[in-house]
């Protein structure tokens, strides 16, 4: 691999061999410049600040000072994470000019690891969507086919890595928003266990489901990035105080003996045959490596989408209440009294999908409906988690396709929210259970679109998950593919 096609690990090695961080970062900034008109992954790029960070790394390297894990490696950030003094839009008009006075935990952690933040990436407004078409600003294109969507909601971050505009990026995953775009863009995307990465500074969509994780070309890079951002943060009460393993140290050790569970529910109706055969082929790779395959069942997963759209929207209706035009963010120019100020500011500031979900969530929590919808959904959520616990007693990891289809065309599902929601059918349960999941490339369609394999494990089993994913990677070369742009 050369130039911007390289992985973070390649770039770290290159710097140790004498290449400057400044030249590396310049190459990626140039890649953003030249490819952005096609891909449109970024909402903002701060060239000067990125180069300054790179030069600082070079200076410190020259003077023999210790450097962080990701020194000089360009990283793109989903625009839902607060960056101090830099506009953080969440893909929404309502935060068009919002500059947070603080850095999210993940941003501090990346700065602490000497990563170079190159820009903020496009996303579905407030992370609500599966195609990044719900951005208030622009439509990001899939680098493998510019007529198609990159997936969502972290579509900008996924496309940026796939298009080699950055070797690493940060996404967030509430119902599949890292894994699904990783799958559709032919890269690796990891959703850690709920509580593994601090959510401090992540503008919440659904607090009990949101997790932050990496996008990368290969599994080793995701391990590096997770190592840099994971860990306890006293500012997030839901962040878990457990030691963070050195994921990158053990990454090349195969897991054995390995039992793989294939949920029968993940291989049924609605699954594209090309996607199915790629996923089954990936499982055969493991079998060749000595893994045992068993069928498992996640019987309540058929309720997952329904449960998700009650729990996530309920939380969102409350989380997004603060965007009211009073203290910050968009305020309507004309309003008559307080209620009108709220209605006009929110009506103008939020896009249609966000409004739809706020209404759904408000309804699900309303007196007279809460028992039947929200509280019932919480009960089923526990059953879904129970399914995973039971399945993982008979296998080490659960595997299946990440998404039922490869990338669809821009506009194809834009007017059909239900069809759009179904593209997260295999990823949503994992968030409801709070378990970690990863998507790795496992093939391409005849039409040249990437296909992803999802691997899920028990809580805080990221180390095992990464090692299992790496086994497939070492036996195949899907992760070496780069699109022609």
């Amino acid at each position: 691999m050369t130039g911007v096609n390289r992985t973070a690990a390649d770039l770290i090695a290159a710097q140790q061999a004498g290449e400057s961080a400044e030249s590396i970062v310049t190459a990626f900034l140039d890649s953003i410049d030249s490819r952005e008109s096609k891909v449109r992954a970024f909402l903002s790029v701060d060239r000067e600040s990125a180069l300054e960070q790179a030069r600082d790394v070079d200076t410190r390297r020259k003077s023999g000072k210790p450097l962080g894990l990701l020194a000089g490696v360009p990283v793109a950030i989903k625009d839902v994470l607060c960056t101090r003094g830099q506009v953080t839009t969440c893909g929404s008009k309502i935060l068009e000019d919002f500059r947070p006075p603080y850095d999210a935990h993940v941003i501090s952690a990346l700065r602490g690891a000497d990563a170079v933040i190159v820009g903020k990436t496009n996303m579905d407004e407030f992370a609500m969507g599966s195609s990044t078409e719900n951005s208030a600003y622009q439509v990001t294109r899939n680098p493998w086919d510019l007529d198609r969507i990159p997936g969502g909601s972290s579509g900008g971050s996924a496309a940026a890595v796939a298009a080699c505009q950055a070797p690493l990026s940060i996404g967030t995953d509430t119902g599949g928003s890292i894994r699904q775009p990783a799958s559709l863009c032919g890269i690796v995307g990891l959703k850690p266990t709920y509580g593994r990465v601090s959510r401090y500074g992540l503008v919440a969509f659904a607090s009990s489901l949101d997790q932050i994780g990496p996008f990368s070309h290969d599994v080793t890079d995701s391990a590096l990035m997770l190592e840099a951002i994971a860990g306890h943060d006293p500012r997030d009460s839901t962040s878990v105080d457990r030691p963070v393993p050195k994921y990158s140290n053990s990454i090349n050790e195969p897991v054995g003996p390995l039992t793989i569970g294939l949920p029968r529910e993940y291989f049924g109706e609605g699954l594209d045959p090309e996607v199915e055969s790629a996923a089954r082929e990936a499982v055969r790779v493991y079998e060749k490596l000595g893994a045992k395959v068993v069928e498992v069942s996640l019987p309540h997963s058929r309720y997952a989408i329904a449960v998700y759209y009650l729990v996530a929207t309920a939380e969102a209706s409350s989380n997004l209440a603060r965007f009211d035009g009073v203290h910050y963010g968009h305020r309507a120019k004309d309003f008559d009294g307080l209620i009108d100020l709220y209605e006009a500011s929110r009506g103008e500031g939020f896009g249609p999908e966000v409004r739809r979900r706020i209404m759904l969530g408000t309804f699900a929590l309303s007196s007279g409906y809460k028992d039947a919808y929200y509280l019932k959904a919480l009960k089923v959520r526990r059953l879904i988690k129970g399914d995973f616990d039971a399945a993982l007693r008979t296998c080490d990891v659960i595997m299946g396709p990440t998404a039922p289809t490869a990338a669809f065309r821009v506009g194809e599902k834009a007017d059909d929210p239900l069809a759009m929601y179904l593209s997260d059918i295999y990823t949503i349960s994992c968030n409801l259970a709070g378990f970690p999941g990863i998507s790795i490339p496992c093939g391409w369609t005849r039409g040249g679109l990437p296909i992803g394999l999802q691997i899920q494990a028990g809580p805080f089993e990221e180390e095992k998950l990464l090692r299992v994913a790496r086994m497939h990677e070492q036996a195949t070369d899907w992760h070496l593919r780069r699109p022609t742009l």
């Binding site: 994470l81 607060c82 953080t88 969440c90 935060l95 919002f98 947070p100 006075p101 603080y102 999210a104 959510r199 401090y200 500074g201 992540l202 503008v203 919440a204 659904a206 607090s207 009990s208 006293p234 500012r235 997030d236 009460s237 839901t238 309920a314 939380e315 209706s317 409350s318 209440a321 603060r322 965007f323 009211d324 009073v326 203290h327 910050y328 307080l338 709220y342 408000t362 929590l365 309303s366 007196s367 809460k370 929200y374």
Partner: protein, 488 residues
Amino acid sequence: MTTAYKTVIGLEVHVQLLTRTKLFCGCSTKFGLPPNSATCPVCLGLPGSLPVMNRRAFDLGIRAALALNCSINKFTKWDRKNYYYPDLPKNYQISQYDLPFSYEGWLEINVAADPKKDYVPKRVGIIRAHLEEDAGKNMHDESGRGGDSKVDLNRTGTPLVEIVSKPEMSSPAEAVAYLTELRLLLRELGVSDCEMQEGSLRCDANVNVHIPQADGTVAATPLVEVKNLNSFRAVERAIAYEAQRQYEEFQKTGQRFGDVAKATAGWDDARGQTRIQRRKEEASDYRYFPEPDLVPVTVDDAYLEEARAALGELPIAQRARLKSDFGLSVYDADVLVRQGRASVTYFEAVAAGSGDAKAAVNWIANKLLQTDGAMEKIPAERLVGLLREQKSRGLTKQIAEQVFDSMLADGEDAATVIGKLGITAVDELTLVDIIRKAIEANPKAVEDYKKGKVAAAQRIKGAVMKETKGAVKPDTVDAMLATELAKL
């Protein structure tokens, strides 16, 4: 006094906890800081910020609940109460809904007709006590020129404990007794400073009346929640007014409890009236749900035992002990207890040291507590010294108080002050001499006395007391004077 109806009152009290920092962030809770200076991303509700529970606030809440004899939920969680208001920057309040940290307790109050004389205990039930964050303050342009409203978010996120009583108080005086006892308890325990003026104690009263009917049944009027009560006096007046208003309205409309929804009324202190603001059926649906940004709190037996042990002696037990151990009257015991633990301890030291509990409480109530800081300037052992001097020297009340005032002013002990003032001990021979001289100097009085005007002896006694500067016991003088006069 008999009335045509019985008043039924339940109180909802919000108390600010005495923490240095807010409930979910590190900002100061100090009163009176410049607007919006005690704020941070968390209490401003900025996107991405997350709450972290202040353990100290939780501990204080537990302390209050235990003192109110509440049961403690060993598993308690936080909930969001959703409503839009500019003083609530997240547009939801973090509170507790279906699993409050405590429930089912009681507070004992004195409901005697004359609480200065008698103690008639009554337990007012507590439904629950829960923790929540306070909102900020909206400030509107009251000039009528239509200026923008302003919001001060300093108070946003200040920890509150909400204590909800059962509707078990039956007069405005009982409501005030409840508040007075609650305030004493919470101040004693360091839970809150309970300053109504600063808003660290706020009270809403749920009021209705029960009216006996000719057929033997009782008619209950619709419930009204009276808000904007800024003093105990306002609580008392508002409840009395509202009860009478409901009684009169019932005479006109016949509307009973259940016929219309609960209403909210504001108390206009200047006009002395309640005014109905809205019926609850128009009120918002708060859409409570578990706060996903916080983890539930669990407490164990060891923690509760420790918290219970740290409570110390509560006012109700202090009153009982002062009565049983020292024989104090209801009134005297209450005077001490209301002043707080320090004065009870002080009293105990003085009573033990002097062996005279009655004298001790009189001195403390009538002199010591009338002057700020007197307890620090005159430590208990010095007051014991004064009581001893008074007894042994037979100092009059006036002289002893003069000594007390000097002790207070100069910070010296009783013996020193007595020496300075020239109050010397008078032995019996000297006293006889003084008495004889006084008899000689008052021939008119002696003559009157001989004629049978016994009271004339008082004039001679006065001269003796003046000469001895009061350093003798008046009854000793009486006896010796009688002896000397008899000799004439």
